[in-house]
Amino acid sequence: MIIKQSDVREAIARIPDGATVCVGGFGVPGTPFYLLQELVRHGAKDLTIVKNDANERGMGVDHLLKNGQVKKLIVTHIGLNANAIRMMNEAEIEVEFNPQGILAEKLRAAGAGLQGILTDVGIDTTLAEGKTIITYDGRQCIVEPPIKADFALIHAAIADQTGNVRYSATAQNFNPLMAMAADCVICEAEQVVEAGRLDADLIHTPSPFVDHVVEIAELSEEYNVIRR
């Protein structure tokens, strides 16, 4: 089998200015804080970030925003990050909103090598404005394009050295879809084990969709339960 374990600096150093980078996570669960921290250190600029949300102030993606590394956010909701809302309102960043399940399907469509999907979600709303609409099988449908990314940063509970990945509870969310959508997938894992230690029946994202596996040195504060 092919061994994909990698150093976090080497893995993240591949990301150039202007890259489109998918970032897993829905709130805290599944957000690759360790990889994001290294991406801030690395400093790549003009990034297009694809993520469900923009985390909260002072966490995860917000570090990239504050560091001026983000040109555009492709998201479903940024309500928990006042800094992201401010930057959007002051036109410091561009923000594209997608219905949550449609963001998932657009990522998956790229990952499945499709040229697009047809959906009636949002057909009667302002979200349909500017989109290609066709009539198919007697119904109006929006043609939604795939979202293909250069990189995906994903968070696993456990991975093997060949890149087979398992998530925990609701930390799964967008991670498997982003692994499909990106040309180069960098996976941080709380634990990395030898090939053969994970039951082949019980893999969430199989190794062919993962390029680099990075073991998290230590879980930072950001991974913890948030007390409000």
Partner: protein
């Protein structure tokens, strides 16, 4: 809305959650219904961030850092729960596998139009999962205060805000009333204890048909 009015509204609306149903409870007020479900009603709750069989909220000390609902609350898992990715989660929604969703609202129109995601120029946090829940669930029920903080009716003739989905609402529960959406508009069916039909009509910015029998809750 008084605490008492809120509790009565939640008690009343909780009867929507019937035995055997697969249900999504929207962020905010709807989520609280989980504490009011009828005893003996075996329901299965969906959270759009990738879970079926959502259990009650848990205190921070007992929270699993990887286990939240779509509103960010730390929840528990029930026997028979399952986790899945966001694509499968919304596949369930768009495929019509949910029986019921309970959502909040900025405005509900008399034809069932719903606006609950955007106040132009003021509040644009994003669409999240609301549009698919509203458009694709066989039964959409709204749980909201009857009026906003300025005393404006949330029940309107026509929505002024950008729509979440057209003609999607079947029923509205508020602290003042229960209304159904019919082909030709709204019908008032139940009113909160202590209020009169006139009180509700006056507080509502859409015409109301009045059911033959008005129940108090």
């Amino acid at each position: 809305m008084s605490l008492d009015a809120k509790t009565r509204m939640l008690h009343r609306a909780a009867h929507e959650l019937k035995d055997g149903m697969f249900i999504n409870l929207g962020i905010g007020l709807p989520t609280q219904l989980v504490n009011y479900v009828d005893e003996g009603a075996n329901v299965c709750l969906h959270s759009e961030n990738g879970m079926s069989g959502v259990g009650p909220l848990v205190p921070y000390e007992k929270a699993d850092r990887n286990l939240i609902d779509a509103g960010g609350g730390y929840v528990s898992r029930l026997a028979g729960s399952a986790f899945f990715d966001s694509a499968l989660s919304f596949a369930m929604v768009r495929r019509g596998r949910l029986d019921l969703t309970v959502l909040g609202a900025f405005e509900v129109a008399m034809n069932g139009d719903l606006a609950n995601w955007m106040i132009p120029g003021k509040f644009t946090p994003g669409i999240g999962g609301a549009i698919e829940l509203a458009q694709k669930t066989p039964r959409v029920v709204i749980l909201t205060t009857h009026q906003d903080k300025k005393g404006q009716s949330k029940i309107v003739r026509e929505c002024s805000l950008p729509l979440t989905a057209k003609k999607c609402v079947n029923r509205i529960y508020t602290d003042m009333a229960v209304m159904d959406v019919l082909e030709d508009g709204l019908i008032l069916k139940e009113i909160a204890d202590g209020l009169s039909i006139e009180d509700v009509v006056k507080a509502t910015a859409a015409p109301l048909q009045i059911a033959d029998t008005i129940v108090h809750f």
